[in-house]
Symmetry: C2
């Protein structure tokens, strides 16, 4: 009988993943999903080593064909360049079954035997906020372990998906021809974060109208420095895929030439820190409310000895004293 293999530490797994061990990488991605102390340890290892990879986010309404499009871009990249590509398929709306992801992944199967492609699904473990924080960390892990290009594909268009897509260097927003689709994308906050706009399924009627709508909305909300180009694609036939890649590359050059990339990445790291900090307070508040003092709070509220504002003030005091004490003395 073989003795049980001792559990590798996070640092050992990281070394193995850097050396090219895909199994170690997969296990580390699970560490990222779970978070906690190991997650924080890993974050310390990846952050300093990361910074060379470029990340591209694909987002858009379900059914817009993002997944087929991302797959076509991946196929094009593998054919024309020799860049290794990692793909993260993120589905915040499927915490349990992951069904949607598995269905979509079928299209990615053709790349499964390609050594220079790494595909991973991420779904919610615990609450949504956790996933939004885990994705940039997962991208950094792939970056630090030598993947120069990371594609992040989100399923759905909720606030969390928008937040996740926005953590990428170039954000590709996918819409379809047809009345109202561009307006919906705008309402969902997608146009705000778009660096490249794609009208996929461009063999359907209404392409010109959708392009016009998009152009108008982009002009209204756009910045002076970069106007998102609008690319028309038919993902299954490959039509427009080369143009899409050109648009992504132009945006990348724009960021690099103008020195914006490093600034944006630092800002995103700061936003990440902000989200982590918010989650820490949220968790401490949830624990305070679930704790022993909660019964007293409930009674006080039921008997109207305290109103919600007063109860909130008490919770704020309790949690800030607790976390203030944990975080040590005032730095000088």
């Amino acid at each position: 009988m073989k003795p049980p293999r001792p559990r590798a530490s996070t640092a050992e797994l990281f070394q193995a993943a850097v050396a090219g061990d895909r199994g170690a990488l997969a296990r580390l991605l699970s560490v990222v999903e779970r978070g906690g102390d190991s997650g924080r340890e890993l974050a310390g290892l990846t952050f300093r080593r990361a910074g060379t990879a470029y990340s591209i986010g694909f987002t858009g309404a379900p059914g817009s064909g993002k997944s087929t499009l991302a797959s076509a871009v991946l196929a094009g990249l593998r054919e024309r360049h020799d860049t290794p590509v990692a793909v993260l398929a993120v589905d915040p709306s499927s915490p349990v079954t992951g069904g949607a992801i598995l269905g979509d992944r079928v299209r990615m199967q053709e790349h499964a035997l390609d050594d220079a492609v790494f595909i991973r699904s991420m779904a919610t473990r615990g609450h949504l906020g956790g996933l939004a924080a885990a994705v940039p960390e997962a991208v950094r892990l792939l970056d630090a372990t030598g993947w120069p290009l990371v594609i992040v594909e989100t399923v759905g268009v909720g606030q969390v998906e928008v937040e996740i897509a926005a953590t990428c260097d170039t954000v590709v927003v996918v819409v379809n021809p047809g009345w109202g689709d561009a307006v919906q994308a705008n309402k969902a906050g997608l146009l705000e974060i778009a660096d490249v706009l794609v009208i996929n399924k461009a063999d359907r009627p209404g392409v010109q109208e959708t392009a016009r709508d998009l152009r108008l909305m982009v002009q209204l909300s756009g910045t002076l420095e970069w106007t998102p180009p609008i690319v028309k694609t038919v993902a299954p036939t490959g039509e427009g895929i080369a143009e899409l890649w050109d648009a992504i590359s132009s945006h990348r050059r724009h960021l690099e030439v103008h020195g914006v990339l490093q600034v944006r990445r630092a800002e995103r790291a700061r936003d990440e820190a902000l989200r982590i900090a918010k989650r820490r307070f949220d968790a401490a508040l949830d624990a305070a409310v679930a704790g022993a003092a909660s019964a007293g709070l409930l009674t006080a509220l039921r008997e109207k000895r305290m109103d919600p504002e007063q109860a909130a003030a008490r919770l704020v005091g309790e949690v800030s004293r607790e976390l203030g004490a944990e975080s040590g003395p005032v730095p000088t």
Copy 2:
């Protein structure tokens, strides 16, 4: 020339609203929407006086006919009973124009001259979390100023709308016949909060299938104490409206007989306190990041002297010391 009328204080406005001044009530609802110090002062006045009104939330996908349904229930109530009714129409997705609400409100116009009906739209001022906190406060204000029945209607089915509807005593979830509608409602988290289920537009095909889907899902996720009844309605003709009111009344009796109502209200007040506390930390963190120290944080992140986890720890320490100091000494 008349001297300018001195601005009434929040307490004066509250006294006037209690005495039946609708203008004062409308102004206080704006105070609730704006929040801040006046909002907190008002919360202290309303909480102790409130507790006799019953609140009913209507929620469901856009186009399901919630608004027409709520209007039909209101008309039925006014015909058969002499209860005054207040209606809050809440649209978190229309921060700017409030267009959807105005459109829907046309159906409510027939009640505009009824002295025993008070109708008010609420839209987002500032951020979404603010509105979710403002609605229960608005319900309490209506309660404290003598409205025994408050109908809350939410537009849209985002997380915030679900949260808002869930703050009511009885939650009515509206779906339509047709494949997938029940499943969508389930995915949006609506079935979890439903006390009464309505299949509106029940003159369309697919009613039996939708009823069967709903029954199955409710059985899977329901509690032992209360199984949400399923009511079929055709709002414009009034079909099923009396049955809907019976179902709402049954749920109310169930809560009152079993003593659940007071417990649930205290729990909701505690959840409200939790949300207020979370918002306070969020606001303090946002301020810390926008403040002078932010430039230093950005540089440290760009130069990789600090990773996001470390930056988060610094923010947590800073904010908890600040709010801990504000909230005074440890209570004994």
